[in-house]
Symmetry: D2
Subunit: 259 residues, 4 copies
């Protein structure tokens, strides 16, 4: 089988260079181009890239993706800054290039994506839910984007299932003890020297709790997700938002009746 021809745009950054190394190390992928800030996009077509991994900056991403889509190169995009207007523009480009796929992934960590999925699935079955996220002691935002997103997804799943809002039993206490309120789900942010990025979703029901915990212990944790995206995007034309849509169940895995 011939190898998939992959380029990395933004290959001189910390994450981009690690992505380039991971592509290079994969048996089924061929790293055909590594573009830094001053390299011409023509390198992509000259090298015959089939998939481009875009890891640059919101100022540069639109031009890079437009070039790729126009030339039928599938894109895996980690760069942020996607406003509704930008998404709409990208959809227009993809409509004009049938068969070409683009994935935008706010989070490439498979563990983080599964945590959000399982939290959504569990939400309807438990009266109580709270989120604890724990990060290194230089993180500027609290809660983390992932924790906020997780809480929103859980809140939406509860609402869809018709669950009553959680009642806070606290009648006296200190400000902040009960965390931040994200759509009715308390979110607690711990900042600790020595940590990297960690998240727990805690569900509680009669006599039992269910905890889903994701630990990102090294910044390489997003690499398997990048490789998965590179391998999958050629088969999914149009725009996909979120790596979770590439983490599909095997067919025939639905509920079965009978013993």
């Amino acid at each position: 089988m011939s190898k998939l021809r992959v380029a990395v745009i933004g290959a001189t950054g910390r994450i981009g260079s690690e992505a380039a190394r991971s592509v290079e190390a994969a048996d089924d992928l061929d790293l055909v181009a590594s573009l830094g800030r001053h390299d011409s996009l023509d390198t992509l077509t000259e090298a015959g890239a089939q998939v481009a991994v875009e890891l640059t900056h919101p100022d540069a991403v639109m031009g890079n993706v437009e070039f790729c889509v126009r030339h039928g190169i599938h894109t895996v995009i980690g760069t942020t800054g996607w406003t509704p207007e930008r998404l709409s523009t990208l959809r227009g480009w993809l409509d004009a290039a049938p068969g070409t796929g683009a994935l935008i992934a706010p989070n490439f960590s498979i563990g983080a994506v599964l945590t959000m999925r399982f939290a959504q699935q569990a939400a309807r079955w438990f009266e109580s839910v709270e989120v604890i996220e724990l990060h290194h002691d230089t993180k500027a935002d609290a809660p983390s984007g992932t924790a906020t997103r997780t809480a929103q997804l859980v809140a939406a799943a509860r609402s869809e299932a018709g669950l009553a809002a959680q009642k806070d039993p606290t009648t006296h206490g200190l400000d902040g003890a009960r965390g931040a309120d994200v759509d009715g789900v308390p979110v607690h942010s711990v900042r600790l020297r020595g940590l990297l990025a960690h998240q727990e979703v805690l569900f509680g029901g009669t006599g039992e709790t269910l905890t889903i915990r994701h630990d990102s212990l090294h910044h390489s944790s997003f690499m398997p997700g990048v490789l998965l995206a590179v391998r999958t995007v050629p088969g999914v034309p149009g725009l996909t938002f979120g790596l979770e849509h590439f983490l599909t169940e095997p067919q025939g895995a639905g509920p079965q009746q009978g013993a």
Copy 2:
């Protein structure tokens, strides 16, 4: 809306009496009969029971269930001892009573069932997986039945997804340190005064881990599952084995593309 008319068979046992109380406390259920060892099954029909919860003993369960199915009473069965022969007999009764449902549940804890489901779903995405179960210090079997079942499901999911077998890196060590081998998944059993029933499934990939943990802190933890089963079984004719088939996703919850 009229309430569902529910009977409990085995209502004098510890679990049965708790089930009766839970049914009684539910707004949408009406406890119409509580049968002890010496009560006649005719009580069920005289009371107009629509669903019977069967929590007795392998010696008594077949007669009880046969009576229910013949009279069109749906059954929720917690009693164990279901051999292939018994299952086949039960299926025969249900075939002769179209519209009547029966659920056999080895585990009524929703948290335990979701843990197994999520473990199955996560299995294909991680190179490594191990199971730790922790129970009170009088438990006679190790590993627990739930941990063994979880490891088997995880092993099957890995195999289906074409993952390579896990390699144990241990070249020298003490016997037992690396746990029991269940279909290639190491399972560790902790026994500790003060605990009840707890289980962790640990997945590891490049730079990250995902942990799914279930804590059963009180024996009431199976009650929500019993009530869920009672409410669901009238709508599911025939035999269902495993509460997981009643923990369905809301319709239209499949993966969606586009932002």
Copy 3:
């Protein structure tokens, strides 16, 4: 060896009755009196009680303890409401009864007491520390008294060791995300159906974290502490505040040099 003669005052309450049962079950203790609200304190002397466990109410405790101290009965006191004035009064009684001991214990759980002790010992060695306490979903105060006390002890230990105050890196976020501030230590309170009483103290330093976690899974968890206090108090004349002073290291366990 003759058994220690023990009485329980407040033996009809939930905790008092459990204390009475625990004393009765102990091989080395003899339950000689169980006093309810209307029983005369003279029962204590008639029964020859050597130690009394006081588990009543702030309105009743002073009279009960005064009677005990005057009659040379050692007391183990779980009742709260000890103002500086009350403590001073109690000390006066004890001064007049040399050889008689009294222990006031805000928390009888050995695990909780050790958690506080270890947290104090660890505090000086880590740049970062935060506390997470998790309780059932009907707890009215947040943070818990134990978590507040733990954070205060940790803060004091940091201060004694000359550690700089922790800096919160958060520059933008949601109110409450970073917990309550107790003497500079963030404390987070989780409330979840299914939980009882749990606490984690998380320490972080360069490349590592240390976590001390206490789980109280059943209300019987304070019984070993009550029994320990009953056995110890006869040998410790005067007033002791806090069970931690009875959790002593074996002699000669200090640091040793040489291999």
Copy 4:
């Protein structure tokens, strides 16, 4: 205040080079020499080193340490391979150099050392105890040396306190499920891609558990311990085995009576 003059022997190795960087970065320390394999030990005296950090190899350590002790240079030794004979030889050198100190540290992680200390202190108060250690999936030995040592210390503390041996309740099960037996303490070894080095000591008593967990998330975790040793060893003449002896409590921190 003048800075302490520090040398690193074995400064070209991965750990040695990190130690050199850490010394250099410390405000109160002056890195005066970094010796690789081919550098002369005379560099130490020429540079006026007061403390040497020895991070080489069992084949080289004796010669290096002898040189240091003879020249009154205090040593902090991470190199392993200390047989009773070697220790005896080292003690002889130190006897001949009064005022000179040497610390041998099998583990420089402060978190690991405190975990062992707290486990020892807690051991006497709980009926049950087990150890779980979790490491990356290339570790060759199971259990880890730290886990084995922890279990031995816990077992000794139980024995000293007169606790009965733990009884394993298992009557039927799979081989290995209940872990390795280290002096009567079950030890479980988990190997998982994505992990580095982690250990939990779980204690269980009536209705409660106490867990002490150490997570080493980055190999820099031993650096604070090296710096602590460098600063402390000049004040502790003779041989000290184990960093725990340098983790001393502040004076006057003993138990206090009275409120």
